[in-house]
């Protein structure tokens, strides 16, 4: 896995979520990107039961990424994370009396996957309980694993189709010392997705519906 940046793209003025996604697809195709299948990233939330009353219950997030279909990532926000195989979900079912699945909080991001030379671009619609909450764009620069070395290139590439919505260096990378490589275990990518999902979860939907 190369350096990956996940960012949110605001819905275009006067357009629906689907229309904005279509505009992005068109821009990518004009650049010369080739569509290569689809992707899905999802996140389930579990509450620890049996906590001392008065203390907020710890939230455990279990995330899946279609790019690594046999794995799942379990993490506590700001805490340790675990990469496990797909059976971890079965284990969580066994643990249901200790960790309750907050079913209404499941967030999914689905969309198309594009390839442009060494870049992998994924434009997705983030949905929660079947209502679209926003648009995510994930850009991966595959040949490089050191964020500091390729961030300028990635930013320039993103500007060519995102225009003014280009993000700053993601905080997962800013927190690391200069020159440290991002290990190939997708933890940084999934942490960025989790930040995005949590941000979108807090946003109130202003009455507009999914198209």
């Amino acid at each position: 896995m190369g350096v990956t940046c996940v960012c949110q793209v605001p819905v275009a003025e006067g357009k629906s979520v689907q229309q904005t996604v279509d505009i992005l697809h068109k821009k990518l195709e004009q650049l010369g990107a080739v569509k290569q299948g689809s992707f899905c990233v999802d996140c389930e939330t579990y509450h620890a039961t049996g906590n001392v009353s008065g203390q907020p219950s710890k939230l455990l997030y279990v995330m899946h990424n279609s790019e690594t279909p046999l794995s799942c990532l379990a993490l506590f926000e700001g805490g340790p994370c675990l990469i496990a195989d797909a059976n971890f979900d079965v284990l969580m079912v066994k643990l249901k009396s200790h960790f309750q699945n907050a079913k209404g909080h499941k967030v999914e991001c689905r969309g198309s996957r594009y390839r442009y030379c060494d870049f992998l671009i994924k434009v997705g619609t983030v949905t929660m309980s079947s209502s679209a909450r926003g648009i995510s764009v994930e850009v991966e620069y595959c040949p490089c694993v050191v964020p500091g070395d390729c961030w300028n290139l990635m930013k320039e590439f993103m500007q060519s189709f995102l225009g003014p919505s280009v993000p700053e260096l993601p905080s997962v990378f800013a927190a690391k010392p200069e020159g440290l490589f991002a290990p190939a275990d997708s933890v940084d990518t999934m942490t960025q997705y989790l930040e995005l999902f949590n941000k979108l979860r807090k946003l109130q939907l202003p009455g507009s519906n999914v198209r």
């Binding site: 290569q36 299948g37 689809s38 992707f39 899905c40 620890a48 039961t49 049996g50 710890k58 455990l60 279609s66 790019e67 690594t68 279909p69 379990a74 506590f76 805490g79 340790p80 994370c81 675990l82 990469i83 496990a84 195989d85 797909a86 059976n87 971890f88 979900d89 079965v90 284990l91 079912v93 066994k94 643990l95 009396s97 200790h98 960790f99 689905r110 996957r113 390839r115 992998l120 595959c142 275990d185």
Partner: protein, 209 residues
């Protein structure tokens, strides 16, 4: 850079429940070589495989009922290999004529952050030990002959003390629920190991005091 398939099937509900069928016995140290010799003859032809594993047993105490037990195991001979997390359910009661101990089993491979992660989840380590020995295979059956050692200083796997003067012998099969011929096959294999070792169904709940 082909896109991997996007799965739309839910994991929960439709999962195959795997069951572990188990028979256990033991041999004194002096009898080990004859047992290994017999196993080499009976089992699948493969390079003799030895192992040294460190297992930690974690408990999660809930508000009611028995604590939830998880077993985390890592290889000391292959330190970079992932950890193996295992959940074993209560033994299935009912058919007294069934020859092996049957219990639900969930195996998860996990990264090296497993001990910290389990602590964050609320699990606490109850005990740990080192197991080393030999592993054999015959079809779907796995035969493990191991020596268990107590860890004297928590976390230090170099300094261990043998728990007994014998080796634990375990014959197990992992199969989907409902396959009853498995315990028959295990019983006939166990017959071939007599009188070197007597493998029997030992109910773990009867061991507790």
């Amino acid at each position: 850079m082909e896109a991997p398939p996007v799965t739309v099937m839910p994991v929960t509900g439709g999962t195959i429940n795997m069951m572990e069928y188990l028979l256990q016995g033991s041999v004194l140290d002096q009898a080990l070589e004859s047992l290994l010799h017999r196993l080499r003859g009976l089992c699948d032809n493969m390079e003799p495989e030895t192992f040294t594993d460190h297992e930690l047993v974690y408990l999660l105490k809930g508000q009611q009922g028995n604590p939830f037990i998880l077993r985390a195991r890592r290889s000391l001979s292959h330190p970079k290999a992932p950890w193996h997390l295992r959940y074993l359910g209560q033994p299935e009661v009912g058919d007294k004529s069934r020859h092996a101990l049957v219990r639900n089993c969930v195996d998860v491979a996990a990264s090296h952050s497993l001990p910290d992660f389990l602590n964050e989840m609320g699990f606490r380590m109850d005990h740990e030990f080192v197991a080393n020995g030999h592993i054999f295979r015959k079809g779907a059956m796995k035969i493990v002959v191991s020596k268990l050692s107590r860890i004297l200083v928590p976390g230090n796997t170099e300094n261990t003390e043998r728990l007994s003067l014998s080796y634990l012998v375990e014959l197990s099969v992992l199969a989907p629920a409902g396959q009853d011929t498995v315990s028959e096959d295990m019983r006939s294999f166990a017959e071939q190991l007599k009188p070197l070792v007597h493998l029997e169904k030992i109910d773990p709940s009867k061991q507790r005091h």
